[in-house]
């Protein structure tokens, strides 16, 4: 276990708006490397990130960054880079003007080389002199990231940074974040997409309904996910025959036949089921018309993790 001081410490933090509790009694430490804040939309990720950056006050609990309280502590922002989820930019500025202004606001001493470096990091040198209102959504996100990086912060807090990025941009972005983390920075990024966080984060904080549902390495969380029971709905031309046959499969826990003739299979090993079900149908001369998961939404995945 590491004994180094955490870069960010969230201690018993809650935030409520009137009678609505957005974040409830959350505590965790963030160490250098990439930490993914994962959760469905409306889980409280953005509220939590806003408290971690000092943009919003906590209702109770404390947030310290590099050992200092983050709220009402402007000097700390020399060491902190924040990219909010809002994609609004100053459309009348060119990308370079925007990054230069952000560098100036953050007190960068040698400004022009810093602007050059930040823009080249996001691979937007060719577009830097264009007004930002002519940029695509992905380009705006990248230029906002350049502005976040211009003062070379030790800690990066990025709220849904991959929104609007195309696949090529995502790959570039992931390489860049890994490079920045390898240089010793602490990076916290939020996402509601499991795979996105899985590809990037060393540590995952899972937020559901304003609570910390799980934390740790992604493998542990993924393992829990793989054991999750799936309901799969199957339409075929001989439902009762298929229902009795699939019960013999090791990957199937239970089966029932719906009044409309569909069978619903409960499986804890959906990967094996994907292979075994077509084989079984073929050997029994049963035609499969439709196979669909019933509870593959992100909310149901998160819900399962919370319950377990």
């Amino acid at each position: 276990m590491s004994t180094a001081a955490p870069a960010i410490r969230v201690d018993g933090v809650s935030r409520w708006f009137g009678s609505v509790v957005a974040v409830s009694e959350i505590s965790f430490d963030v160490m250098p490397g990439i930490t993914g804040l994962l959760g469905p939309n409306g889980a409280g990720k953005t509220t939590l990130l806003r408290m971690m950056t000092g943009l919003a006050a906590t209702s109770s609990g404390t947030v310290t960054v590099l050992g200092q309280p983050v709220r009402d502590n402007p000097p700390l922002y020399r060491r902190l880079g924040v990219m909010s989820e809002h994609e609004t930019v100053y459309g009348f500025m060119t990308g370079r003007q925007f990054v230069r202004m952000m560098g100036k606001l953050r007190g960068v001493a040698d400004l022009e080389p810093a602007v050059d470096r930040a823009i080249s990091l996001v691979d937007l040198a060719d577009a830097q002199h264009r007004p930002m209102d002519t940029y695509s959504r992905g380009m705006r996100q990248r230029m906002r990231l350049a502005a976040t990086l211009v003062h070379d912060p030790e800690i990066l807090i990025l709220d849904e940074p991959l929104n609007g990025a195309d696949p090529r941009q995502r790959v570039h972005f992931q390489h860049l974040l890994r490079k920045l983390a390898a240089e010793g920075r602490t990076i916290v990024l939020s996402s509601h997409i499991l795979e996105e966080v899985e590809q990037l984060a060393d540590t995952v904080l899972l937020i559901v309904n304003g609570k910390l549902a799980a934390s740790g390495g992604f493998r542990a969380i993924r393992a829990a996910l793989n054991q999750r029971p799936y309901h799969v709905r199957v339409m075929c031309d001989a439902p009762r025959r298929l229902a009795s046959a699939v019960l013999a499969l090791d990957s199937v826990d239970a089966v029932h036949v719906d009044p409309d003739g569909a069978i619903v299979v409960l499986s804890r090993n959906v990967l094996d089921l994907q292979i075994e079900l077509p084989r079984l149908a073929q050997s029994a001369a049963i035609s499969l018309r439709r196979v669909e998961p019933l509870d593959d939404s992100l909310e149901s995945v998160f819900g399962y993790l919370v319950e377990s």
Partner: protein, 237 residues
Amino acid sequence: MSAVYFLTLRQLSGRWRIVVMTVLAALPVVIAVLMLRSSSAPSVREFETVVLSGMLAGSIAPLVVLAIAGAAFANELEDRTLANLTLSPLPRWEIVVPKLLAAITIAGPFIAVSALLTSHVAFLGDLRATIAVTVSALVGVALYASMFVWLGLVTTQAIGIGLLYIVLWEGFFAGFVAGARMLSIRHYAIALMHGLDGRRFAAGSHMSLVLAIVVAVVVFGGFLMLSIRRLRRMDVP
């Protein structure tokens, strides 16, 4: 500080605002010309009450300043770009002061030129009266700007509430209720005008020059401090 100042200048100098301000600023000049050309030319007292106090200090100046200063923070709160400034290591006063100065920089010249032309036409080139009217108008701009910058930070309805304030407080109560004048920016500006040219505007003064200056400084500084305090404590979207 200059980055915030120039950013705010650019944000507040939209085309529609400039057009509206130009039209509003031209109104007192046009009214002054029409009044002087009419068969029954007004007295200095009538001109002061109707044009300088009622129209320029009580309506045009606050409306122009409201359109500018009310948006200094409100626009950034609405489009959620204020975090770009508040996530910088600047002390909060280095964000509020340049924004206030930018609002005064944009609104000030319109009101100053309007006051200068209006008084020049009305007082037939009397330099002292022209200076008194112009300086007091500029002080009024600064006071209104300080108040409306704060208003834009505390509510998303700054324009609506500002309009109610202008119509009800400055236009109605302060005009008819003697005690309300002690809390009226319009009357601070008028008292300053009286003090700067007592020869022409002596009659009907409600407040001494010294008191007007003291109150103006307190009001300007007070709203400035409230804005800084608000920016330190508020949740920034």
